[in-house]
Symmetry: C2
Subunit: 268 residues, 2 copies
């Protein structure tokens, strides 16, 4: 799925919700925790329950890698279970020298055929470039993240602007709004108007709504552009809405609540 198809999906479903599958085996409902295929079965139920109210799924690779081989198997099965109508993101935050980044691009665009992967900018252009060389694939580069540590470097001065501003300005010159998006944390909503000045056309992947405390209303009012331009991610708030056997029902309710609120902002 490419950017144009994502825009169409947002328009037809009246949602810009991305559901984050940060599936932690220790947090699964009891009946799935012991099951050999528990993580996939959990994800499958979440996908079935939420696909009508979201347009994207983000798989946080860390939670799968930590389980070793079984985790990669669960990630693979989950990716293949997500319908083609949804934009798939590997939240992997990769980035290395050119020949190594090319291997990561192969991992997340070919071996595991995601539509997009998150990329760390620290190492500069040749670390991002290999992700931009695939047609109809997207690199989502870290801009301003939602965690406290954003203050350590991202929000520090870097030659007359903040480092994250320099990152947005510089990285956006390496590609187009078709093959590049940016991660911008919802807990930094006050910075979103400024960010829209720097990258007016690009989609922003916005984590931090829900468990991390960001406000959907603020994010939408400061961050939306003519094509929507937002993918708002909710992970724990949706997938762990209940820790019991009704987890999928509750996930459906919460994702529908997000969708209904989003429909209001899209209609404005």
């Amino acid at each position: 799925m490419n950017k144009q198809q994502l825009v169409a999906a947002i328009q037809s479903s009246k949602s810009y919700l991305c559901v984050g599958l940060d599936t932690d085996i220790s947090k699964l409902p009891a009946h799935l925790k012991q099951h050999p295929d528990g993580v996939f079965l959990f994800n499958k139920a979440i996908i079935d329950a939420t696909k009508a109210s979201c347009v994207s799924y983000k798989i946080n690779t860390a939670f799968y890698e930590s389980m070793g081989l079984k985790g990669w198997e669960a990630m693979e099965k989950t990716l293949h279970y997500i319908p083609d109508t949804h934009f798939t993101i590997a939240d992997a935050k990769r980035g290395d020298i050119g020949n190594t980044s090319a291997q990561y691009a192969r991992t997340f665009f070919e071996t595991l055929p995601f539509d997009a992967v998150t990329v760390a900018p620290y190492m500069g252009e040749d670390s991002v470039r290999p992700f931009l060389e695939y047609e109809n694939k997207v690199a989502i580069v870290l801009g301003l993240t939602s965690n406290k540590g954003a203050e350590d470097f991202e929000l520090q001065q870097a030659g007359g602007e903040k480092l994250y501003e320099k990152v947005l300005r510089t990285v956006s010159s390496w590609g187009t709004s078709d093959n590049l998006m940016f991660v911008v944390g919802a807990t930094q909503a006050s910075e979103l108007a400024n960010i829209r000045n720097i990258v007016p056309e690009h989609f922003l992947l916005v984590p931090g709504v829900g468990a991390q405390g960001g406000s959907l209303k603020e994010v939408s009012s400061y961050g939306m552009n003519a094509q929507c331009g937002l993918l708002v991610n909710a992970s724990r708030a949706v997938i762990y809405a209940s820790s019991g056997e009704d987890f999928a029902v509750r996930a459906q309710q919460v994702s529908e609540e997000y969708q209904q609120e989003m429909a209001l902002y899209l209609n404005k």
Copy 2:
């Protein structure tokens, strides 16, 4: 293996060579390329051939991930084959918000029991902290990398100093020289004297010698401290010294050449 044991290994083997297992299936000798276990067999032969002249192995996770499940299996087998006498590094360049970094730490310190993992600093303290909470494990944080893209952000001004200097100064305050090391590219040898002023005690992992053009002599003269404080990595220069069936013999010769040169600098 912890830092003290690494220092002892360097003293007894008169080597601070780290061999980088960036094993690319497309570059294997013909007789291994078709073998179902080719990557592991290649690594096994390289390890047998080089273990007397190096003190560390660095597995570049990208090359394994790009092969999917089979790759993770090969990585696991390779890690378990490396002798306990050698310091093992997952070159994974991970980093995310706290609860996700904790999963990555689990991946590379427990599920795959490496001694160290490389970490990207962009997201700040809480993205690095989980890697520092393991006893006898090391986070190797990116300082100044060996690629051209280092000019884009790492070498840019950031409030009166270069960004990489700020990173070294800030990150070094989060841990000790026992649980923190830094990546400093060999192609930036002229910066090494300066780096030693900022982090006099820390080990530096230095890639970029060999295929990327860095000089072992310069790195050693500017970078060495009283405990050696250097791990110089060579990947392609060692493992692809020959593309034929004699690859292990040639790898042994090249790694012995490094070791002999290193012994000279250690004796100074």
